[in-house]
């Protein structure tokens, strides 16, 4: 039987509580409507209406089913509306940017969680650096992003700040790999492999300034767009890489830095959408990202971070 069609008849009769009026609303004659209700009752094995000569009333099972029947019809309507939008090329989607070094498992977890929560939407993920994401958000080419701070987030909405300690990826046979933690100054003399500055100039400058401050001035900096390239430089003994915690692979070992001098700060950013459906889609994406990143990427909320100490000098003082 056409269950959806029959449920529709049931809902209309339940709303009218009058077979004649319901039939009129449905654009059909009364006898076939009565037949459909009877067939539905037979199919479900319960009586939906008490019929007397003067009135029609919902039975207790009828009342119970009414809510669900309405929901099914609403969902069916949504399927048709969605198909219509898809046919016209306007299927709902979230276009989001991700840092290129986030890692395959994290990307997969993000997509899986989003699919499960919003199967009605297409998720268009793009592998781009922070600076490019900020540009694309401003131009309207992206709806949301996952960026590294500091970056220019004026005019953008921000999710909670997540922190991720940066450690060093070393050749497994390096003397430094023998200790559980490595001091930044111990890296002296080694070239550094790190993400390209153009991907997140604020984060890059902050990282190199922290290296110098803690006694590590790399003789050369190799910009590695892809983690595999950084790994290659490490394996060959060309450089050490400063990266978020990563699983050890044959020949390379990740070690935390003593005192956690380097932390990557990551958050979701998005543009406020005028369309409430789109705003909800973006909110769903960022909520999922905020759940997946701590679980899969070892990021932790930075709410309680100590306040930065700033001692002003005359040359950088107020209105100098």
């Amino acid at each position: 039987m056409n269950l959806v069609g029959h449920l529709n008849c049931f809902v209309v009769v339940a709303e009218e509580l009058h077979f004649g009026h319901a039939a009129e609303r449905l654009g059909m004659a009364q006898p076939p409507l009565s037949q459909r209700i009877q067939r539905l009752e037979k199919e479900l094995g319960v009586r939906l209406f008490e019929r007397s000569s003067r009135k029609v009333e919902l039975t207790a099972p009828g009342r119970l089913l009414l809510e669900d029947a309405r929901e099914i019809l609403t969902r069916v309507d949504r399927v048709y509306a969605l198909a219509e939008r898809a046919r016209l090329g306007e299927v709902g989607e979230v276009r989001a940017g991700l840092p290129s070094d986030l890692g395959g498992p994290i990307v997969a977890a993000l997509i899986a969680a989003f699919r499960q929560h919003r199967p009605d939407l297409r998720l268009d993920l793009r592998e781009t650096g922070t600076a490019e994401q900020i540009r694309a958000l401003a131009e309207g080419a992206l709806d949301a992003g996952i960026v590294r701070h500091p970056c220019d987030t004026r005019d953008l909405e921000l999710g909670p700040m997540l922190g991720q300690p940066v450690g060093v990826l070393l050749p497994a046979d390096s003397d430094l790999a023998a200790s559980a933690e490595v001091h930044l100054a111990d890296l002296t003399g080694h070239d550094l492999a790190v993400f390209p500055r153009e991907e997140a100039p604020g984060t890059y400058d902050e990282l190199l300034a922290a290296c110098r401050r803690h006694g590590y001035a790399p003789p050369a900096v190799h910009e590695a767009r892809h983690p595999q390239f950084a790994l290659g430089l490490v394996l060959s003994g060309t450089a050490v890489a400063l990266v978020a915690r990563t699983d050890d692979v044959a020949g390379a070992t990740w070690r935390p830095l003593l005192g956690e001098p380097l932390t990557w700060r990551t958050s979701c950013v998005w543009r406020r959408a005028r369309d409430p459906e789109q705003a909800r889609a973006i909110a769903d994406f960022t909520a999922i990202a905020n759940a997946v990143l701590p679980r899969e990427a070892g990021m932790t909320p930075l709410d309680g971070a100590p306040v930065r100490r700033v001692v002003q000098r005359p040359a950088s003082g107020f209105l100098a």
């Binding site: 700033v310 000098r313 040359a315 107020f318 209105l319």
Partner: protein
């Protein structure tokens, strides 16, 4: 073998702009620059027509308005002003840093306002000159994009209110928290004292050509810009004993500016305005200060090519 193709001036100019942009990028700032040969009008422009936050550069149009009023007999530059300790505008230099009552002439206050960016002195001069007069002067000199919205005191109050802070130190330490920078009207060129790089070099050109006020007043202004103490920005780009660098800086969180004139012994005079915004919310950022000098030198050296 074909003869080497002649490089057009347009290509050269775009080349210098590319190098200036690269210098800004390497220093981690967004830069706005206009440089012009005061004699010939040749120019280099990088985002030179976009609005910028003036910060303390607002003291330049204030100084011009002050000298025009003096020339018109509306005020006596030697008139003494008493500054009580309780009326200090916050600031790291000059009278702002002093503890006791100070009495000095309006023109000496103007001297401190330009040479060490003294905020108390600047607000005292502004109180006497009037905000409307400063903006009327800017308009009269053909600077429609140059608007002073308030005093140093007003700016500090706005900054603290927007940040929800009680001290400037708090504002600085909260700057790298998400969303804080965007809330601060003091850093938004549409909602605070503002100008356009091209208008600032126009103003400097007027001062250097004795057109902003009578010649004696312009000479007095040039003397003050030449006495400015800061070595870290515009001046750092011209480490030559025989080159005069006169200027006025402007500083607010993430904002580092300087406008000034560079004078070579052969008579070449170049007005330069450089406004920057840094990505890092850090107070001590020498590379962001130095790139003002570097960018200015790239521009001036291009202007000096035959």
């Amino acid at each position: 073998m074909s003869a080497p193709r002649e490089i057009t001036p347009r290509e050269l100019r775009s080349d210098v702009r590319v190098r200036i942009e690269a210098a800004f990028r390497d220093a981690g700032v967004t830069g706005f620059l206009h440089a012009i040969d005061i004699e010939t009008g040749r120019e280099v422009a990088v985002r030179a027509d976009e609005p910028v936050v003036l910060a303390s550069v607002f003291k330049v149009p204030l100084l011009v308005a002050f000298h025009r009023q003096a020339a018109d007999g509306l005020l006596d530059p030697t008139e003494p002003v008493t500054l009580r300790p309780e009326d200090r505008t916050i600031g790291p230099t000059g009278v702002s840093a002093l503890l006791d009552e100070v009495r000095m002439s309006l023109r000496d206050l103007a001297c401190l306002m330009i040479t060490v960016s003294d905020n108390t002195a600047a607000d005292a001069v502004l109180d006497r000159v009037g905000l409307d007069a400063v903006n009327a002067t800017a308009a009269a000199l053909g600077l429609p994009g140059t608007v002073v919205e308030g005093s140093g005191r007003d700016l500090l109050d706005m900054l603290l209110a927007d940040a929800g802070a009680t001290t400037l130190g708090e504002v600085w330490s909260w700057l790298d928290e998400p969303g804080v920078l965007g809330r601060l009207r003091a850093l938004d060129p549409h909602r605070t004292s503002r100008s356009i790089s091209r208008e600032m070099t126009r103003l400097l050109g007027l001062i250097w050509r004795d057109e902003a006020a009578p010649p004696a007043e312009c000479a007095a202004m040039r003397r003050l810009f030449g006495l400015q103490v800061w070595p870290h920005r515009l001046s750092s780009g011209f480490p030559y004993d025989d080159v005069v660098v006169s200027g006025k800086t402007g500083t607010l969180p993430t904002i580092r500016n300087e406008v000034g004139v560079v004078e070579y012994p052969d008579g070449g005079r170049y007005a330069v305005a450089v406004f920057t915004r840094s990505l890092l919310p850090i107070a001590v950022l020498p590379q962001a200060d130095a790139v003002i000098g570097t960018a200015a030198r790239l521009a001036v050296e291009w202007l000096r090519r035959p």
